[in-house]
Amino acid sequence: MATIIKSISFQNFYNYYGSFNDNTYLFKEGINIINADNNMGKSKFYNGILWILKSTVYDSDLKRMVSANSSFQKMASGKVINEETNFNMGVNITFLDCDSKYSVTKSVQFSKNGNSWNTNEKLDILQTIENRDIPVLDTFDKEKIIKKIIPTELINYALLQGESMEDLVDLSSHNGLSSTIETLAGIKNLIEICEISKELSQKTKKLSNEKEKEINSSNNRVEELVQESELLENRIDSTKTQIETYKTELSEAKKKKDNLEAILLNAQNREKFRGVQKTLQNEINHYKEKKNNKLKNINSMLFSEYSPWILMGLQDQIMLFDNRRQELTAAIATQKVIDNPIKLPEGSPDIPSLKRMIRMEFCEVCGRQAPRNSDPWNHIKLVMERPGDKEKSSKNDFGSFYSNIQTTIGAFSLSIPKIAQTILEYREKADELEDIIIQKEEEKENAKLEFLNAGGSETGSDNTDKQNISDYTLAEKDILKYDELIRKGELSLNQWRARLKQIDVEIKSISTNSEIEKYRQFKEIMASVEYILNNSRERIFDEILKSLEINANRKYGELTQGNLSAGGKLSFTKQADGTVQVSIKNVNDGELTGLGTGFQRMKQLSIIMAIISSKIGNKQFDYPFISDAPFSEFGDNFINNFFKIAPNVFSQSIILIKELYDPMSENYLNDLGIKILKKMENGVIPGTFYVNVIEEKADTTNLVTKNKCYKG
């Protein structure tokens, strides 16, 4: 029965903030899709599996695999690091294998110590037997159980990352190919027998030679020939070893040349995207400066001369002050009237004269009677009792003080009512700048990805390309050098082998002793055994290669079915150095060039499927196939075909993909995603369908990924 992963859970692992329960994916047989946009946890998910199986993780900053225990702090959720001083980070995989259920948990306990963190890694495994969870304590047993998920020798084919697929299916590597074929054919025993037969053959040769010398001790010629034979055997052995070394070096040089070729071919793209990145960075700097200036200016706006935001909503005060001033002016005017009555003309009667006129009841001014209490009498009395003259009506005059204030603040009566609207517009402008910066950052990130996809290096300078050209020339020279050394070595081997045959013939003609004949026969039999076994090994190797070619082409045909451009035919050619070159041929058996990265990657995927099919015959693959972003260069047709044929090859696959994602759609699915989900809901494609979402916009340190299960 196949191994089936039932669930994968995360606790405070990268974006997966929170408990295991918060971050659980339940899986089934068939295809399990996790659809997520960039930065939504696909590679982090994949890293969780790598940590459990290989104790490594892919460091996206360094662009290479690193040991997990050197990267714990990066693996922990940024949010939990900011919030807690003691917490656990972990990954849990539960799986079924031959009716046994296992739960594997790798975790790290974090505790803060000053400015640094103490970490303690743990591996806990539970085996469920008759509904009881029994802890597995023995380290060796734990290792064995982890290998049940995916055996070490199959990890390269069952666990792959789209971008590094080429490295995983390493048919161009001498050792890589040998180990692949050995794994596929299960010929480890045969290889061991070959080694034993070689050893036995050498021993019988030695024995035979010693007997020749012993029996023909008086014959100098035989002794000379035996000595020459021993010398040649030694030379053959050391040359064979040397040729093996040359083959490995040749294989390395070829690999280096291929890698550099790809890098150099992309130099133009690198230059383009290097420029795009620089331009975008300049634009980002410009907008950041603009935004910073705007934000820095806010507090100046509070105290602006013409429209100070600090006075927002206080415009009524101006009217109030104006009213106060008018009231004050009116009050001062009234007081003046009271304080300054009518002044009498020059020559008017003085107070004693007026007193006399009142007493005499006679007006001396007009010469008429003025009886007591009559109108003329009362008038004379009023004039007499009028208040005395004052120098001034008030002590102070603050009019200019109030007037100056009113002049200074006068313009504000028009500007203050507009402040609220000005602030709103200011905020909108700042938000607009922030949006532009985010958009430019995204564009720059995309340009960076294109740059890296074109072989660019984050740490490398512009001089890296020059170094690559020099390395490429060196690799080409190495290839020529090792080809020549191998050719010369094999030529020598052939000459020496021919000479050995001559020596054998000559010795036989000189010495005809019947006793030595037994040893000679024994030596020849062992040499034949060695030859037959090695030949078998070669034949099996060739057969497997042929089978791989047939299988890979079948899968390649299925994967490229319906594509408008013909993808050609995969051709496996064994090279002199023992490696296999896989090329794509056109209908006339010529090399098909100019195919896009999608086709190239499909070629690799076909070979992986072929390798897996070759291993398992017509059955399904017994282990989960887990892949991160394998489709980044594929079109819809390729993706559709993959989902159609994958369930026939893999009993369970877990696919982390972004090509079904649409951030603008309500359910985050594009048309292809909706189609595939429907097929899953209708049972056409078996499995589960998850979508990762980011509920709250945040920078990478506070990013929290949640999953939505569309088909469980």
Partner: protein, 163 residues
Amino acid sequence: MDGSQLRDLIGQKRPRYKEQYRTLIESISKKGDSSGKGDFSSFGAFYQTYMYAIVIGIKLDKQNFIQASEKTNDFFVFSQWSPTSIRDYILMMLLNKSEDFGFKLVELENAGTEAIEAFVIELIRQIEGYANAGFEYLQTKWDNENMKFRNPFVFVNFLEELS
């Protein structure tokens, strides 16, 4: 006494703030730097912070008078506060309230020098009352909602909250 003499009299006063708000004022003011750099949003000169606090106090319609026993610090002389238009606006708002603190403008016109001195002292006391009420409000925000001060719009936000 004329208007310019009254202005001079007010202008030479140094309004005070309570010592308990010194740390806050230093945190949200940057002497000689009006750029608002740093982790927290901040004003330029101290007197701008003081004017902001007065406006907050007026908007709250609340005063926090300095008690005789309280430790205080003197501020920059009133005449040197700038922008002068905002300083005068604050003065105008206080004059609008003069009857509330016992002084009719018309009576000031007839008042003697001692009475005018008393008015100016009360006017400054009123300014201090509003400013320290503003600082009290900002101190509470600083203590309880400190993260808000990382927002460049923080001081605008507070004004809007009180509008």
